[in-house]
Symmetry: none
DNA sequence: TATGAATGAGGTTTCATTCAT
DNA sequence: GATGAATGAAACCTCATTCAT
């Protein structure tokens, strides 16, 4: 029961911090502002997270692990053309982030601000994502479903870039979720057609 | 005539700041560190730039305007298939940035740190670049050289994402310029094939 | 309950700042000098006051409200000839300030230094004081105790000037409290005789 | 001829500085702002004045000496009842300052800001003025035109306070010159009636 | 005489983190 | 666990003054 309360508080901190990081940036958000918004004392933040950097990193891990788990499910547990899986995966990521603009902005922008985070987490995230895709493409190559000279690592890279670019545009221009998803669909189609056999 | 603001000194500041911003990030670089590296006093920085924010912004303007000018030349002054122009343009950008890793990192990462910069400059840069591409694609559509349902704006977005992604990977992993250019070539090819008629 | 903001500490800051403002002037006193004299860290000053300006303003409010409260008591709670009340009020003000030369100097000189303070507080102080006197004179007029053509607002102004001038002279020349009070008595008498019926 | 130009420049500096000191205060006005307004370089300021402090002091001397010279003329060169001379003197001072609100504000407020100025000049000004009045009152006493127990020094003080107070009020509230002079006339009358035999 | 770039000392303020309560 | 006052290091920036031109 005490545990429960504790998780709730931790989540409230994460939520508050994500909101503020997204709004004002990592360096322009102070611990006391976070405490304020989370309706607790500065001291309490340090009960749950050992530093501001740590707080940022934990925000990601929490969110990202769940997201990637779901993508993995699509990639491994469904029976489809691999390029359709790829399409569905892209959709899932963008769809999920489109429900939480704050988190999206943190992912795209703020993660790059903390040196520690940038160095320790960002590559990890990219690697994990790119690996998932690489495996998918390797599978497609084995089944002879894509052009021969395709470089799987590069596909990972490119799709990552695609997602980032489209989300960043959405964050800046602020159109509807529907338009965002439509843009993604089209862009993904061009790209996938470029590699499909 | 008294001493005039020297271009040399101004450039030394820009160079020093870019190096440090790239190395340690915008917020983790202090004006006094910049002054140190530029071998002048802190006060002198403020003779040439009116704030730290301004310094970051000026770094961009300087570099970016020249780069974009060259891309524009390719797009408007050469006679080629528009998609080949697009290819050459991508190559020019990556090629140029690959010669100055510091500047590349500043472009990709640090620009997003300063709120002022992010809000005032980043969109401007994106817009300018995306517009160049949009015009190119429009031209290609008129000449019936690309698939019919192509969305020019989206192509702009996607190529921007492509460049960012590949450069970011390079910055993180640190391979040779040659490998970087090779990766770009391949990725660009997939993409362009996806839209070419 | 954690440590609460201590009134003692706040007062120590006020005392130290008043001393230094009086000695060296508002602009020539640094926050770190104040912290030094108050035997605490610079950061602590900002726990109690949100800026240097604010510190100056708070010094006044504290001191002035009490002083004016006492003057008001004389004016409203005693039964005397209104001009005698006026005389007693002048005496109280000068008497009180004569016990704290630092505060007197801050009142007369430093208040005018901070733009914020000058614009927001100084007029408020003057208005409050001049109003008290205005009411007193109005009362005296009703009772037909002063000359007919007396302008109450002007009396307020003039007595304020009288007090300022005499205190300023004392601060500059540094004679004894007794002499100061004697001067005030005489000057006040000339003035009051000028308006008494 | 060269001399002429030089005086003109010096005056332009004084004028500019007075304006800015009055507008923003002594400490909040920078030498480069003064140079700006005077349409010359910072270096030039230092050709004519040896420091910022010195500039403030010189502003006064210039203005004040002329003003006091005129008051002295009234006091010594005209044949009137001494209290009428006093009245005329007060009028002259206020009248003159009312034509140059900037200078008035500098006199009343900014003079107190520079330590050097406050310590060296302010007392000198007060002394000079108070002495003029003292002599006048002494003369009046000899001729048995004022009450017996009048303290000449105190009259000096009081009239100085009167002027300051009324000018300060005018500066803050900003009414017309006519109203200002009317207020002075009345206030001076009360006061003079208090001491006239 | 006139200039204005250069300086460096010093100012105010912020803030992540600690720790006594 | 929870609090928030206390800290001190460091940040950005200003500015009177100097001096080479």
């Amino acid at each position: 029961m005490a545990r429960r309360k504790s998780v709730k508080k931790r989540n409230k901190i994460i939520e508050s911090a994500a909101k503020l990081f997204a709004q004002n940036g990592y360096f322009c958000t102070s611990m006391s502002e976070i405490a304020n918004r989370a309706e607790m004392s500065v001291g309490s933040l340090y009960v749950y997270f050992k530093s501001k950097d740590d707080l940022l990193i934990e925000i990601f891990k929490n969110y990202f692990d769940e997201l990637m788990g779901n993508v993995e499910k699509i990639f491994t547990e469904t029976e489809q053309h691999p390029l359709d899986k790829l399409f569905d995966g892209l959709n899932l990521v963008v769809n999920t982030l489109s429900n939480d603009k704050d988190m999206a902005k943190v992912f795209l922008v703020e993660l790059r601000q903390s040196n520690k985070a940038l160095e320790s987490i960002a590559p990890e995230i990219r690697d994990k994502y790119e690996n998932l895709i690489k495996n998918l493409i390797d599978e497609a190559k084995e089944k002879d479903l894509v052009k021969k000279n395709i470089d799987p690592e590069l596909i990972g890279l490119s799709t990552f870039g695609l997602i980032e670019s489209i989300l960043f545009d959405w964050i800046n221009k602020g159109y509807t979720k529907e338009k965002l998803l439509m843009k993604l669909e089209r862009a993904a189609n061009y790209f996938i057609q470029g590699i499909r056999k």
